[in-house]
Subunit: 207 residues, 2 copies
């Protein structure tokens, strides 16, 4: 699972010219779910999104407070294009979780976020719709998060997380993988939409 | 080097309430340079940014055309926070190239982009300044690019690129590393700025 977090002064989503959600100061989260993601990735991501220290404290010290600490808002938008694999210059999205699985999973992530924080401070785009996401990136401050279960960039991980990951790897060697569903379902949706659908999945390789 | 590419309907940058640049349809690029990046990373990134197929063609086929193919605009903004390493929930930016080295490097990347495309279609933020970057993300469509010389996510790479990377690794084993400068210079700048400065580099670990 990959998330792009942008610290914002304000952000909003419009669909067909109509505003469907908006926030003031806080973070805009673009969230890309991969076909391999599990509940574990979701838990990691919710925790990191809400606790990541992107804001200054009362005395102006930077990187001191999270969106929760400051009681600021979160706009979360599903974004399967973050699971892009480049084939030459052509994006391929087969690594993204298919929309019919991603939508309930994404909704459960939103729910976890609402339970962990305050529901009225967390808002959403419109899954699968063609949206305009208006982001006033404040700073700018942009951070990429990847959940540990995804292919990991070792530089992304803290020492503690690395230890945990090693433990998990050791443990999973002993256990069966049969519980993991791998779906190859592909759906066709609104070709303009890229928030969770895979309308434009491409399989042709660039010559 | 890491870039976050957002396909936009429009985008602009304001500094102190004053608009310093704006584009119409095209891409907004947030670019994070790491301390280890070289000319090779810059060349890869410029090529990918300009040739990445994020736009539809005349017949409406998605992921068919690049920003250059469609003669659209590019707004590029330096963003060292993309070189964030999490220490618990605290971002640490020691992996980012220090501002005094990053600024000329970043300017050379912009110049390469302008030479490879059309200079009047490429605009910039204000390096090191505290900016508001207004992004109207169209879709949304967001893609993360990492240059191959950086710690690589194998899923990000095409077969060709993997082969190239393997070749490069084999080659570099035989050569000296003495040519690579590793600077540990740290500078203090405007603490609000995060476009290229490292004003808020943190080294304390979370307890």
């Amino acid at each position: 699972m990959r998330a792009i977090i942008q610290r914002v002064t304000k952000a909003s989503v419009t669909v067909g010219g109509e505003q469907v959600s908006s926030i003031g100061r806080g973070i805009c989260v673009l969230l890309g779910i991969s076909a391999d993601d599990t509940q574990k990735d979701a838990e990691y991501m919710v925790r990191k999104i809400l606790n990541l220290r992107l804001f200054e404290d009362e005395s102006g010290r930077a990187w001191a407070k999270s969106v929760m600490d400051r009681e600021l808002e979160v706009l979360c938008v599903s974004q399967f294009t973050l699971q892009c694999i480049l084939k030459g210059n052509k994006p391929d999205f087969h690594a993204a979780m298919p929309a019919e699985l991603a939508q309930p999973f994404y909704n459960s992530i939103l729910e976890s976020m609402r339970s962990a924080y305050r529901p009225e401070l967390i808002t959403d785009g419109k899954f699968g719709a063609y949206m305009q996401v208006n982001i006033q990136n404040d700073g700018p401050v942009t951070v990429e998060l990847t959940s540990p279960a995804a292919p990991t960039d070792p530089k992304q991980l803290s020492k503690l997380e690395k230890q945990q990951l090693r433990k998990e790897k050791t443990r999973s060697k002993g256990s069966s993988e049969s519980g993991r569903e791998k779906s190859s379902l592909r759906s066709r949706q609104d070709p303009g939409a890229s928030s969770g659908a895979e309308g434009d999945v491409s399989s042709d390789r660039e010559s």
